[in-house]
């Protein structure tokens, strides 16, 4: 069976959906951050696959940027999580709700 573009795209869609549901329904902030990472990599996969299919390297270049930004985001996000944890002794998002009515 040949690996067509559709395979890559389907895998990407599955990964993205998993990431989305992770962000929406998990309560642990660290898991949410990991889910965000999953979503980003799903997109990366799409970019690389399409870049390969169309013979255009700009998609792959974009991926490098996404990876760099994702690294920065993970660093900042985890720092925030630590800060919140030190203050409130919890990283449950359903319990972190300062800005409410």
């Amino acid at each position: 069976m040949e690996m067509t573009l559709n395979w890559y795209l389907t895998l990407s869609a599955v990964l993205f959906t998993m990431g989305t549901f992770g962000v929406l329904f998990r309560r642990n902030v660290i898991v949410i951050l990991m889910s965000v990472e999953l979503m980003l990599n799903a997109v990366n996969l799409t970019l690389v696959a399409l870049s390969q299919a169309f013979g255009d390297p700009s998609g792959q270049i974009l991926v490098f940027f996404v990876i760099a930004v994702a690294a920065a985001e993970a660093a900042v996000g985890l720092a925030l999580v630590i800060a919140i944890f030190r203050g409130r002794m919890t990283i449950d998002v359903s319990k972190i709700k300062l800005f409410r009515y």
């Binding site: 989305t20 962000v23 929406l24 329904f25 309560r27 998002v93 359903s94 972190i96 709700k97 300062l98 800005f99 409410r100 009515y101």
Partner: protein, 666 residues
């Protein structure tokens, strides 16, 4: 090019002075007490423009020149340029404003000495000069109006300068509100001119304005005149000017005698071709002017406050000028504006010097340790407690005397030439204009009254014996040189300035320099009625001699009455004229009538109707808006759960919806 720089200097230096002194005094309290510095800056910012104006005058070639600074606003068909116009009329006015203004600034250094608001005073004065110069130099009605409102504002600020006294701020409010009535009419006239001619620039107005329909021109000129009655204190809007004496005396001299109150006359003289086209309204102007002149003159005889006498005298003299405009003699009105600026400026400054001296007397009476009576209070402006000041204040007395004789119209002093020219112009058109007969007769009577009340003021103040308590030990002192120098300069001008307008009997008017300079028949900007005078030389001489005789008679009689009997003569007059005297003493009850007819009903209607309307309807709408916002947010605020997941769910649902729309197209 040189004109451009000079005009910019003239306009901008007073503004720079106002900004510098105002902001400096406001933010750096340490310099507020540096009075010499503040006074010198303030004075220099007016004297340098005066020198520039003299240079402009010397280099003037008879052609009006326009100085373009920038375009102020441009909207649709309306373009307002910031242009200044240098011609004969604006030059004369600029010289008066900066010249007399500079002298009064110098005087103020001495007069305002020690006042905590010294810096504020000079900032306001400079701002006033800036506004006044905009008024007379602007090349369109909008710039003129900017100056018009500016001088009104400065007048308000300076009348209420000592604002801690409630009476003063009341007078300031009165002046401002009365002026608003006139300004509103002036605005309407501007709107009408724009509607008819599509422009507010003087070039267009003067060339096309006179050609409008008679009805339209009449309405416009009537509205302009009503605007002028506000600023120039004519019936029916004159009552603010006597109250305006609440301000410091240099303000009365500068704003309420020499410059601002003449701006209505300047306006009419500037638009003289249009005014000439409205013959019916000219009659109204002549009659109102004559009535104002005599009404104010009769009130002036009965007043005991030295500044009130001068205030009513100013109203009366302004009436003369309007009379001149009403009989078509615009250049004579400007001539009288000039001579009046000199002698009335000098009189007011002289009265300020007297008040300064009497203030010292009052101070000594209250705080002096060598007197038993420590509780003497003395109104330093009341002539009843003056008398005999000529021994103590020789310079003030001499200059006051010269100006008194000048305003009375004693031959060869300036007032004689300008006043007689007005009366002569009224006389010369008597055969075509019945209003002119009325104006002439009233003018003659007023001339006599003027001589009487001014001599009364002089004699009661300077002649006779001192009438204040402890007069043998407590004496006033002459004012410092910064106050007497302006007095001498103005007195010299009051004596000699009339020679620029020698009457027609001398070399057929060839030596009437101001007429040749301003009059349109000699290429000047001020229009003249096209009537040929049919008055013979013999009649002219007779009129001149008559005018001189009336002045001499007025001064002579009043001198005899008041130097012999003093205050007792007022009682005699009261007994003689009874009700008439009381009527004049109470200013014809005009203020009371205005209160009854306009002010009180207005107050009643506002408290009875508008206050509840404001409270329930206007405030009700505002409160309703607030209530509705609260009510809706009471429900919708529950959207804000504060939980990140909820918001993320919202975003995802939104993205899914948008993608669904894009894919399936609803």
């Amino acid at each position: 090019m040189q004109t451009q720089i000079l005009v910019q200097l003239i306009i901008l230096l007073p503004l720079a002075g106002a900004v510098l002194l105002g902001l400096g005094g406001l933010f750096i309290p340490a310099i507020r007490s540096r009075e010499t510095l503040i006074g010198s800056i303030g004075t220099a910012m007016v004297v340098i423009p005066f020198i520039c104006a003299v240079m402009l005058f010397i280099g003037f070639d008879g052609q009006a020149s326009i100085v373009h600074l920038f375009t102020w606003m441009s909207a649709g068909d309306l373009t307002v340029e910031f242009d200044y116009r240098v011609d004969q009329l604006s030059l004369v006015m600029t010289l008066i404003i900066t010249g007399v203004g500079g002298l009064i600034h110098l005087y103020s250094i001495g007069y305002m000495q020690g006042d905590p608001g010294f810096w504020r005073f000079f900032a306001y004065l400079n701002l006033f000069i800036f506004a006044m110069l905009n008024l007379v130099l602007g090349n369109n009605l909008v710039v003129l109006f900017l100056g018009w409102e500016g001088v009104g504002l400065c007048s308000y600020l300076l009348i209420g300068f000592w604002y801690t006294n409630r009476e003063n701020s009341r007078a300031a409010n009165k002046a401002f509100i009365m002026n608003r009535i006139g300004d509103f009419c002036f605005l309407l006239a501007m709107f009408m001119l724009y509607r008819e001619l599509g422009s507010l620039s003087f070039d267009v107005l003067l060339s096309e304005g006179p050609g409008l329909d008679t009805g339209v021109v009449n309405t416009i000129v009537m509205l302009l005149f009503l605007g002028a009655t506000g600023k120039s204190a004519q019936i029916p809007l004159y009552t603010w000017l006597p109250d305006a004496m609440a301000g410091p005396t240099p303000v009365s001299a500068l704003i309420h005698a020499a410059t601002m109150v003449t701006s209505g006359l300047y306006l009419l003289a500037r638009l003289s071709p249009i005014v000439l086209a409205a013959e019916g309204i000219m009659v109204v102007i002549a009659i109102v002017g004559a009535l104002t002149a005599i009404v104010a003159a009769t009130i002036a005889i009965t007043q005991n406050d030295i500044k009130k006498v001068l205030a009513y005298s100013t109203v009366s003299q302004l009436g003369y000028m309007f009379l001149a405009i009403g009989v078509g003699a615009f250049w004579v009105a400007i001539f009288h504006v000039m001579t009046h600026a000199f002698f009335k400026g000098c009189l007011f400054l002289g009265s300020g010097s007297v008040i300064h001296g009497m203030h010292g007397v009052e101070h000594e009476l209250v705080h002096g340790s060598d007197h038993e009576g420590h509780n003497h209070t003395l109104d330093p402006q009341d002539m009843r407690t003056m008398g005999g000041l000529k021994r103590f204040m020789p310079a003030t007395r001499m200059t006051f005397l010269i100006s008194t004789l000048a305003i009375a119209g004693i031959p060869l002093l300036s007032g004689y030439f300008s006043k007689d020219e007005i009366l002569f112009q009224a006389f010369s058109i008597m055969d075509q204009n019945t209003a002119a007969i009325f104006a002439w007769v009233v003018g003659i009577v007023t001339a006599f009254l003027t001589a009487v009340y001014m001599t009364r003021a002089y004699v009661l103040t300077f002649e006779g014996e001192p009438r204040w308590p402890h007069a043998d030990t407590v004496t006033p002192h002459e004012s410092p040189w910064s106050m007497t120098l302006p007095l001498w300069v103005l007195a010299a001008l009051a004596a000699g300035a009339g020679f620029v307008g020698l009457p027609a009997v001398i070399k057929h008017g060839e030596w009437n320099l101001i007429h040749h300079f301003l009059g349109s028949s000699y290429g000047g900007p001020v229009a003249e009625a096209a009537v040929e005078s049919h008055v013979s030389v013999a009649t002219e001489w007779t009129l001149l001699i008559l005018g001189g005789l009336i002045a001499v008679a007025g001064v002579g009689l009043a001198w005899r009455w008041y130097s012999k009997e003093g205050l007792a003569f007022d009682e005699k007059l009261k007994a003689r004229f009874g009700g008439l005297y009381r009527l004049a003493e109470h200013k014809y009850y005009v203020d009371e009538v205005y209160d009854k007819v306009i002010v009180n009903p207005l107050i009643r209607s506002t408290t009875g109707f508008f206050a509840p309307f404001d409270k329930f309807v206007i405030d009700g709408i505002v409160n309703m808006v607030g209530f509705l916002t609260r009510a809706t947010s009471f429900v919708f605020r529950y959207v804000q759960t504060g939980v990140v997941s909820t918001y993320a769910t919202g975003i995802v649902i939104g993205v899914v919806l948008v993608i669904a729309l894009m894919l399936f197209g609803l």
